[in-house]
């Protein structure tokens, strides 16, 4: 297996982009990534694109070919493949690109992610997202996505010491970081009171515990490490790529408030990189809901079960803490264009490791991690990158 590096990243701004189409989004992200890598279209050997539900959101399938076409690459006939694993589609797209380069099959490969969610009414998008869980045995009885994570939160809070205020602090922290990220959907800091007084969506989760509906796209360019220096002075090495699965329905898990797929993917990633959680300088975790960030910090092995609420309250996971979590603003404040999220996480870690993260830069960051979850934990992708 060859060593692989990320040589270019690009991301659109995230938000409700009424004037931008699905095609506009990925063309913009792709062009930014190729520009950043100094790579031309003819040099690309293959493309992977993470997308959850273009069929439901814009009534368009066959996204792989569409993207290659509108990226101006139809005449090169490159293989272009859509990857789908609900909210983990981006993470899996990155992993497929990594495997393609590591195997020696291709040299320059693009991993992208895109989702256009605001072309349908909000009820329709809630229903489309419910397809990430078990349609026949969860969605059929009225389970929504926030509802399933709310049930994780209730179960967690009945067993471990987590206060409503500590949960709200996750959102406050991520909005603080988002306010320092030019691409973030939400650019304002918020107070604990804002979260605690926001509308209940699914008890105990309130509106400000939930990630928003977002349009956006992200793309990265991968190359073998020994070729990477031809394109960039700051290649970022992929130290580990791991993926795990679990039961599709939350009710079938071994433990309702532990994501075993996160535990498995995390362990595999640390083993592959040959490092321990202590060596991670920053991590982008999948905070689709505030409770999800609490579970992720614990399930990845950064602390014991039941401790993440206190660590959040003490500022350990803040931008200036020992383990900055979600410096991009996370899904909560940066936004969550489902299929693009996993790639945006890679973009953020790469920018941090290159020292290009501006007002949210973590000083001296050398090793970063991404954690991308599909559904309520049926698929998890974890990557570790370093310079």
């Amino acid at each position: 297996m060859r060593d692989v590096a990320v040589i270019g990243v690009g991301c659109t701004t995230f938000g409700e982009k009424w004037d931008t189409s699905f095609r506009d989004l990925f063309v913009e992200a792709g062009a930014l990534a190729l520009e950043d890598a100094g790579v031309s279209g003819e040099q690309i050997g293959a493309m992977y694109v993470g997308n959850m539900s273009a069929g439901r959101f814009i009534e368009q399938e066959h996204i792989g070919a569409l993207i290659a076409d509108y990226a101006g690459l139809a005449s090169t006939h490159i293989p272009s493949t859509r990857v789908e694993a609900a909210c983990a589609s981006g993470g899996l797209s990155f992993r497929q690109a990594f495997i393609s380069v590591a195997s020696g099959l291709e040299d320059i490969v693009v991993a992208a992610g895109v989702e256009k969610m605001t072309d349908v009414a909000s009820g329709a998008s809630v229903d489309a997202l419910a397809g990430a869980a078990d349609r026949e045995w969860e969605g059929f009885v009225g389970a929504t996505f926030p509802g399933l994570y709310a049930m994780i939160a209730h179960e967690y809070m009945s067993r471990y010491p987590l206060t409503r205020e500590q949960l709200a602090q996750v959102a406050v922290k991520n909005h603080y970081n988002g306010a320092r990220n030019p691409i973030a959907q939400f650019q304002q800091e918020i107070s604990l009171e804002t979260v605690l007084k926001s509308t209940l969506v699914a008890d105990p989760l309130r509106l400000f515990d939930c990630s928003p509906i977002t349009d956006g796209a992200a793309a990265v360019v991968l190359a073998p490490l020994d070729l990477a220096r031809k394109f960039t002075d700051t290649p970022v090495r992929v130290l580990a790529s791991a993926q795990a699965s679990d039961t599709i329905a939350l009710h079938d898990r071994r433990d309702i408030s532990t994501l075993d797929a996160t535990v498995a993917a995390g362990r595999r990633a640390f083993a592959m990189a040959g490092i321990t959680p202590k060596e991670i300088d920053l991590v982008e975790v999948h905070d689709c809901f505030t409770i999800a960030e609490i579970c992720a910090i614990e399930d990845l092995g950064f602390c014991r079960k039941g401790e993440a609420g206190r660590l959040t309250e003490e500022g350990v996971t803040a931008l200036d803490g020992d383990l900055p979590v979600n410096t991009s603003g996370g899904l909560k404040a940066c936004g969550h264009p489902v299929g693009a999220t996993g790639i945006k996480q890679v973009c953020e870690v790469v920018m941090q490791l290159r020292g290009q993260a501006g007002k949210r830069q973590v000083d001296g960051a050398r090793i970063g991690m991404t954690h991308n979850v599909g559904g309520t934990g049926a698929t998890v992708a974890v990557h570790i990158m370093g310079v």
Binding site: G123, A124, V126, D127, A130, E136, W137, E138, G139, F140, V141, G142, A143, T144, P146, G147, A150, M151, I152, H154, E155, S158, T199, L200, V201, A202, D203, P204, L205, A249, L250, H251, D252, I256
Partner: protein, 131 residues
């Protein structure tokens, strides 16, 4: 929502809580499985009708729902552990204040949702407090 046949197919299971049981290891399945995750190909699966009593493991009150459930909000949704062991997701028929973890519940047959476009009404099992 998708085709009517897709949900009719599951009517016997949904209406009567008919799941399955692996006679090799004794594990019960609801929702039903035709392949035992513990015994895999060595497992022998038979049909099993659950009496349906169980305990609430966790719950939430859904206040924002998808289109077919919008008119029913707020409603309580729970993960129920059946006395034979399997867990599954169901609505509770009780007030939001009444729902709690550890509550004993029993099944009742109720309307689950109405599909506005097709006019189809879906039925299934909901849960009420046992007392």
């Amino acid at each position: 929502m998708s085709s009517v046949a897709r949900f009719w197919r599951k009517i016997p299971q949904r209406y009567n809580l008919i799941g399955t049981r692996c006679t090799t290891c004794g594990r019960y399945f609801f929702p039903p499985r035709s392949f035992c995750p513990d015994c895999r190909r060595a497992g022998k699966i038979v049909s099993y009708k659950f009496p349906g009593t169980g305990t609430v493991v966790t719950y939430t009150i859904i206040r924002t729902a998808s289109e077919q459930f919008e008119q029913m909000t707020p409603y309580a949704l729970a993960i129920v552990k059946l006395d034979e062991g399997p867990l599954f997701t169901a609505q509770l028929v009780c007030s939001p204040e009444e729902a709690r973890i550890g509550m004993r519940v029993r099944p009742v047959f109720r309307r689950i949702s109405a599909d506005g476009e097709s006019g189809v009404i879906h039925y299934g099992t909901k849960y009420v407090p046992e007392e």
